[in-house]
């Protein structure tokens, strides 16, 4: 089955999640879809599988334009998607899950279904007991069930979203064998969304790379990790004005002593770090490799399992966030409306929250201050606008306006995420102005040139491991290799 998408556009408010994407997915091929979080790959896959509508463009299957609304219609056209968290019914058994969604009346063709299930699982090398309740299956087995269910529904194209997250190496091998068989033997079209480049390299015949909603490249495999990383992160060489100020004489503002951090998916072990006033440290790595754990630990939002966090000579390990805030640690999260701004409150109310100190709020003064900050930080909005009506860039500007003027340490999660070049540069001017006043900066980014341009040092995170790099001497190429997991070869 040949699937084509032509000029697909999808906007979420100010975000252009899919910007004029045209791609062709031939049958018998496994295509990897690559891109950082927010690049638009999940949106595109959801559009293809009917979970998401699109604004304009068209989808063609075997040359015929199709117009389907909803996943059921997509399945009827032969396109099925395996979600990251399998959409099964926990209270049901394997067989019941296999049967539901099948066309037919109220009578359940148990015997035929059992035979079909056995047939499919055997052919693909899956091990599924029809009577086993879903709750007792591993994620890998639930994926297997979902795959055979979709196949039984007559799906000719299979979309997999991060299928190797949370499954064992053994199950991964079984899954990959099954996918290869489906592509080569059954001539199915298979689309694989994954962060894990090694999976893409092992499995895919070709890759398509999205960045910031746009298709930035397609190529046939094989390709090396660093080639893929370069495609994902962009290859513009940074301008020469790298940060090179000498901070060796500056005092320590942050000391991390043998820190152990545990997140949901990744653990960072035994991390020690000294950060000097005025120093900028970039945290590189694919999303969820441990950078956010470090940033949150520095701001007191994540309690380390072991080790100490010392801010300005004072041991703040285990202290609440407010103590860090009081000592001059400023934190900003990647999700601006989730962690940072308060939807439903106006700009003035935000400014009043951080500036008013008395019992009574002087709204006149707060409004004046807000107008000042709007002008100063060039925010496109009015004092009485609710913050959720601001665009992403303006929300980030407002966050800058809310941040302390003279912090000791700034821990910033992707401070320029989703911003255009001008906005990013502007944000960095503000950050560097605070650096000039003595603040140290720790920031994570998915832009290699941003990391290389602004950092003195870069820490590369891969699956919780940390590899330090001298930003002045590294290259985009080397960074790409490290981010892809080749820590030892560097």
């Amino acid at each position: 089955m040949l699937i084509e998408v032509r000029h697909i556009h999808k906007r979420f408010g100010p975000v252009h999640a899919n910007d004029d994407i045209s791609l062709t997915f031939p049958h018998g091929r496994i295509v990897g879809i690559l891109g950082e979080n927010g690049a638009g790959k999940s949106t595109l896959m959801k559009i293809l599988s009917g979970y998401q509508s699109f604004d304009s463009g068209e989808i063609l299957i075997d040359g015929q334009p199709v117009d389907y609304r909803g996943p059921l219609a997509a399945i009827a056209h032969g396109v099925g998607m395996l979600q990251q968290d399998p959409l099964d019914v926990a209270a049901f058994t394997v067989l019941e899950n296999f049967v539901y969604g099948m066309p037919g009346g109220l009578r359940i063709p148990r015997r035929a279904a059992r035979r079909r299930l056995a047939e499919l699982t055997e052919r693909l090398g899956f091990a599924l007991d029809p009577e086993m309740p879903i709750a007792q299956l591993s994620i890998g087995q639930r994926q297997q069930l979902e795959i055979v269910r979709l196949l039984a529904l007559g799906v000719k194209a299979l979309i997999l979203d991060e299928p190797t997250t949370g499954i064992s190496a053994e199950q991964k091998a079984i899954l990959f064998d099954a996918l290869r068989q489906l592509a080569e033997h059954d001539q199915m079209t298979i689309l694989l969304v994954s962060h894990k480049l090694e999976d893409v390299i092992a499995l895919c015949h070709e890759v398509a790379v999205l960045r910031a909603g746009r298709l930035v490249g397609c190529r046939a495999m094989p390709a090396t990790t660093s080639e893929l990383v370069t495609m994902m992160f962009g290859q513009e060489l940074p301008p020469v004005d790298r940060q090179s100020a000498d901070v060796s004489a500056a005092p320590n503002v942050l000391t991390l002593d043998r820190l152990h951090l545990r997140g949901k998916r990744v653990t960072v072990a035994d991390l020690s770090l000294q950060v000097k006033a005025g120093e900028v440290i970039g945290l590189a790595g694919l999303d969820g490799s441990g950078q956010e754990l470090l940033l949150r630990a520095c701001a007191g939002l994540l309690k380390p399992l072991h080790g100490r966090v010392i801010v300005g000579g004072e041991d703040l390990t285990g202290h609440p966030y407010r103590d860090f805030l009081r000592r001059g640690v400023a934190f900003s999260a990647a999700g601006r409306l989730e962690e940072g701004l308060i939807a439903g409150l106006t700009l003035t109310e935000h400014i009043a929250l951080v500036t008013e100190t008395g019992t009574l709020v002087d709204w006149e003064r707060a409004r004046r201050r807000t107008s000042d900050q709007i002008a100063r930080y060039n925010v496109r909005g009015r004092p009485d606008s609710p913050v959720e009506t601001l665009s992403g860039g303006n929300q980030q500007r407002l966050l800058m306006a809310l941040m302390a003027e003279q912090p000791v340490l700034m821990a910033l999660e992707q401070p320029t995420r989703g911003l255009d070049v001008d906005s990013s540069r502007w944000i960095w001017q503000q950050l560097l102005a605070r650096r000039e006043r003595g603040a140290a900066i720790l920031f994570s980014s998915s832009e290699l040139d941003e990391l290389v341009t602004y950092s003195h040092r870069i820490l590369v995170f891969y699956a919780g491991r940390v590899y330090p790099v001298d930003a002045a001497r590294t290259t985009i190429d080397e960074l790409g290799r490290l981010i892809g997991g080749h820590l030892d070869g560097a």
Partner: protein
């Protein structure tokens, strides 16, 4: 622009009331009665004379106190369903003072009310601590503590505080005269002190939510506790303070029931007023000044329905039916409000751009 949104707000508040009246009218017609007659009867039942109005006001006072307290917790994003129990504890604390302290009225009454505030606040604080420190959702904690408050009241009535004739679980002995709130007059039986407290509470909450940092922090906590915390708001303390304020007001409401309405402590002393207050808050959200108005409408309908049975052989629970529909239609209209709200008008934000200031100049300031 401003008045337009005000009109729209008023319309969306009135819509559920009108709609539920219409549904109730249909229901009345379905059982063969004349809705006009019913509504006339309810109206007369509530407002036929000063005595009837007094009864409505007597119900309105504790309802408004609970509602205005719930506006505070609602602003902080909390569903303080435990308000019933907080009322009961207020009633229990006030009853203790009324039964045991031998003081002249000018001292005893304030002591009773202060104790009632303490009782309600303690019970609310318990819900709050369970929520903030132990992660027990305030609805579960509140329901459990409501049941517990009931048990405490029944134990006291049937045990330590039972009347000398013994054995009764119906009420404590009547309180002595100095312990009671005096009525304004024989025909208009309403406590002046309670009216003053209600006005002070409503205006106080309104002002506090509008003009104090505390009110702003409550609002921030209610809208997005995570962001509020990151901006430096002590969200735990905010939530606890909201519980305490609501508990104090509910406590006063409870004391009013024992010190004026019943002159004794009896089981079910809260009479579902707290739950009704939740309904009021569903309708008014965080607009404090609306609470007494909506509460008054509720009190009038409830008071007026008492005579339906005698006159039309209709059960007085018709008022409950009306309220039930009111909740549903109020929730529906909230959903409607969200759906009708125009999608983020991006053009509006992009167009009045302030004069761009060169970034260099900006951060030199």
């Amino acid at each position: 622009m401003k008045s337009q949104t005000l009109t729209a707000q008023a319309a969306l508040t009135a819509l559920p009331i009108i709609l539920s009246l219409a549904i109730t009218a249909l229901l009345v017609m379905a059982v063969g009665a004349d809705p006009r007659e019913v509504f006339t009867l309810v109206w007369e039942g509530a407002f036929r004379d000063l005595r009837a109005v007094g009864q409505v006001v007597n119900f309105w006072i504790p309802l408004t106190l609970c509602s205005i307290g719930l506006v505070v917790t609602f602003t902080a994003g909390l569903w303080n369903i435990g308000v019933e129990g907080q009322m009961i504890l207020g009633a229990v604390f006030a009853s203790w003072a009324a039964l045991t302290l031998d003081l002249p009225a000018p001292i005893l009454v304030p002591v009773e009310i202060l104790l009632a505030m303490l009782g309600g606040a303690l019970w609310a604080l318990l819900v709050g601590v369970l929520k903030v420190r132990l992660g027990v959702h305030e609805i579960f904690g509140g329901v459990a503590l409501n049941a517990l408050a009931n048990v405490i009241a029944i134990y006291l009535i049937s045990g330590p505080w039972q009347p000398p004739e013994g054995g009764s679980v119906r009420a404590t002995p009547p309180f002595p005269a100095p312990a009671l709130l005096p009525p304004l007059s024989d025909t208009f039986k309403v406590s002046l002190l309670a009216l003053v407290i209600v006005v002070v509470a409503v205006v106080g909450v309104w002002l506090a939510l509008r003009g104090t940092r505390w009110g702003l922090q409550l609002k921030a906590t209610g809208k997005n506790a995570r962001s509020a915390m990151l901006l430096g708001v002590p969200t735990g303390r905010s939530a606890l303070s909201a519980f305490i304020v609501c508990g104090m007001l509910a406590g006063i409401a409870g004391s009013y029931r024992v010190l004026f309405t019943y002159n004794s402590l009896r089981p079910g002393v809260s009479g579902g007023i707290g739950f009704l207050g939740l309904l009021v808050v569903l309708l008014v959200a965080n607009r404090a000044l609306w609470a007494p108005l909506v509460a008054f409408a509720f009190a009038a309908v409830l008071g007026g329905s008492a005579r339906l049975k005698i006159a039309l052989q209709l059960d007085a629970s018709l008022a409950g039916v009306l309220q039930g529909f009111l909740v549903l239609t109020a929730l529906l209209s909230n959903g409607l409000r969200a759906r009708l709200a125009p999608p983020t008008p991006i053009s509006m934000i992009e167009e009045p751009a302030p004069q761009p200031i060169p970034a260099e100049a900006a951060h030199e300031q």
